[in-house]
């Protein structure tokens, strides 16, 4: 690793997030918003509060998804990112939502919510409703909204992200692709690193290392160092281990600025913890390991930094309630 830098000595100015589009959601109608906040993603809020609100929104959305599953109200599968929300909000808030591109994987809800705020569209999609973000065609892991895309094939999105970055390079856009420790087994990742370096693609590879691939621990699937993987391709690397959304956002901003300015790829390694199961009720980790994972939950430390967290929690809860209610009222997609 040639970088392991987290700067704590500077604030992130709101203006550096570019011209943020205000995302409207019908789930917002008739809701009383917390004071000083008038968007779902809290664009006007100080960075800490904004990131907390987004993390809480993701957490409550995914807890509700698991709840709906256990009630038999959902079908198929879903992969929650409970415990990994700091990565989603940290990285996505370092982007310019108007032009940057996101490619995400099977565990994409957090990235999607942080980018779009489309809570109702996500619920409706997973519930197979016509009002879903992809009309009920994609479901949990195949989402598309403006420049956000996800797909359920491990590693396959990496070369697509390289191509999309090259397509929009002239506009100064950056493409981000989210990968995990489990994806390190896919050859497409390494082909993509080579292609991105050779063609000068402005791609930020974000590796969320939660140390487990479905049920198989990292020591059985990954040889060598994930952090060191991109350097032999001549790709600059940043690494972080801390689960603090503000620090992640600062580091991601530095990485994104480099990618945009130099039109070069970058490898951003984030050590994280998956607190929930791979999908539903399939967590085979021993109790002690789960306890270690829960000890790194990014939400409790933020509650000590956000004075009105209860107000925000209530707000997010009511957004989720409305979204589920509204999605459930829509017609099932039948083609």
């Amino acid at each position: 690793m040639n970088e392991h830098a987290v700067r704590k000595d500077r604030d992130v100015p709101a203006s550096s997030f570019g011209e943020l589009r205000i995302v409207t959601s019908s789930a917002l109608q008739n809701l009383t918003l917390p004071q000083a906040s008038n968007t779902l993603l809290g664009f006007e809020l100080p960075i800490e509060v904004r990131l907390y609100q987004q993390m809480m929104l993701i957490r409550l959305v995914e807890e509700r998804l698991l709840d709906l599953f256990s009630q038999g109200l959902l079908f198929g599968t879903t992969h929650t990112s409970i415990g990994q929300e700091a990565n989603a909000v940290g990285v996505v808030n370092a982007l310019d939502r108007d032009r940057d591109i996101i490619w995400s994987n099977h565990r994409c809800h957090g990235h999607f919510i942080a980018y779009s705020g489309e809570v109702e569209g996500l619920f409706a999609e997973i519930m197979g409703r016509v009002t879903g973000i992809c009309g009920g065609r994609g479901g949990s892991q195949h989402l598309c909204f403006r420049n956000f895309h996800s797909n359920g094939i491990q590693g396959g999105i990496a070369p697509v992200a390289v191509g999309s970055a090259l397509a929009r390079k002239d506009e100064g856009a950056v493409a981000v692709v989210f990968l995990g420790d489990g994806t390190m087994g896919e050859g497409a990742v390494y082909e993509s690193l080579n292609l991105a370096a050779i063609f000068g693609a402005p791609v930020l590879f974000v590796i969320e290392d939660n140390e487990i691939a479905q049920t198989t621990p990292k020591n059985l699937t990954v040889s060598g160092s994930i952090v060191a993987r991109a350097e032999p391709f001549g790709i600059r690397t940043f690494a972080y281990d801390g689960n603090d959304p503000v620090e992640i956002c600062e580091l991601a901003q530095e990485a994104v600025s480099y990618v945009r300015a130099e039109s070069r790829p970058c490898w951003l390694y984030l050590r994280t913890e998956r607190i929930g199961p791979h999908s539903k009720g399939d967590d085979t980790r021993p109790a002690l390991r789960l306890e270690q994972a829960r000890a790194r939950d990014p939400i409790p430390p933020m509650r000590r930094r956000v004075a009105n967290f209860e107000e925000i929690d209530d707000f997010c809860r009511s957004v989720v309630d409305r979204a589920v209610e509204s999605a459930a009222a829509a017609a099932m997609a039948r083609g």
Binding site: N151, G156, P159, V162, G163, E191, S192
Partner: protein, 310 residues
């Protein structure tokens, strides 16, 4: 004009008319101009939009899909069609799926050109006709070039549709002259119709001409350009009232072109037979390879057999 020149001309025209179009593939830049010289001159004329790539067939196709999805149409050359197996995931689970899966919010204008077929002595991994494995993939159109149509026009048609296309080119055919549809045997009230595509068309035409001269069996050749989605109605109308049909393909037998032809013709023809390549890999030995792939003599014999059945 030879087939290779027709395709090369079309690529030049498309590059000139579409300033965002990118061509990518292995060894495609000048002075080499591609393993079969199809991209000759393009990198000299459009230096910044013709990209020679590492040997990464899967990711080249993935990169092309990403380019296309975000506004830069792309044409990918696979050096040998055999290498398409490496790109199967990108074609099936990415490029061909994106538009429908994302509820028609995106389009993916990419063309993958794949030189297929044997009769050059290249052996088991450089002589195959693997197109059937990509036929029936929703969201992907599979076309096959032949010299009795306009190969360049086929490329233009694929580009204009702005959706994922796989174009099968035959590596022997590249050096053949473009003959046009008028050169296809099309006798009225044909005794037999040969349905075929790609590199087999040449052999089917030669067989049909011999059958007319030597056996007085009037044989028509229908050269199919679109393999998938299969144009069943069109084939039905071209077969017309003829009661004997034979399907000829170079790939391995079963689950392929002949099966689709038979499906389209169920209950419509009295006698149907099929000729295909071997059910084992293609040998390197030139003579052995020729014995195995459907050639003039084999097609002629199969037609006579079909004719004598009634």
């Amino acid at each position: 004009m030879r087939v290779v020149e027709s395709i090369n001309r079309a690529l030049h025209d498309l590059m000139e008319a579409n300033l965002r179009l990118v061509i990518l593939g292995e060894d495609i830049i000048d002075p080499y101009g591609g393993a079969f010289k199809v991209t000759k001159g393009l990198s000299s004329a459009y230096q910044d939009r013709v990209w020679t790539t590492p040997i990464s067939e899967g990711s080249i196709v993935g990169m092309a899909a990403g380019l296309a999805l975000k506004g830069r149409p792309a044409i990918v050359e696979l050096m040998f069609g055999d290498f398409i197996a490496l790109a199967a995931d990108q074609i099936i689970n990415h490029a061909a799926k994106f538009r429908w899966m994302y509820n028609d919010q995106v389009e993916v204008p990419i063309i993958i050109r794949a030189p297929m077929g044997g009769r050059r002595g290249y052996g088991p991994t450089h002589s195959q006709s693997l197109e059937k494995h990509f036929c029936g993939v929703p969201g992907l159109t599979v076309l096959a070039t032949h010299e009795y149509a306009d190969p360049g026009a086929l490329l233009h048609r694929a580009f204009a549709s702005r959706s994922p296309h796989l174009i099968i080119e035959n590596k022997v055919m590249y050096s053949r002259p473009v003959l046009g549809a008028a050169a296809l045997p099309c006798p009225p009230d044909a005794d037999i119709v040969i349905l075929t595509y790609g590199g087999c068309v040449e052999h089917a035409v030669a067989a049909a001409n011999k059958l007319a001269e030597e056996e007085e069996i009037a044989t028509a050749v229908v050269a199919v350009e679109q393999l998938s989605p299969f144009p069943g109605e069109d084939i039905l109308s071209q077969v017309g009232n003829c009661s004997r049909v034979i399907a000829v393909e170079e790939g391995s037998p079963g689950w392929g072109f002949a099966s689709e032809c038979a499906r389209a013709l169920i209950g419509r023809v009295k006698h149907f037979s099929a000729l295909a390549g071997p059910d084992h890999p293609i040998p390197s030995s030139r003579e052995w390879e020729d014995d195995l792939l459907p050639g003039v003599n084999a097609i002629q014999a199969a037609c006579i057999d079909l004719f004598t059945r009634g």
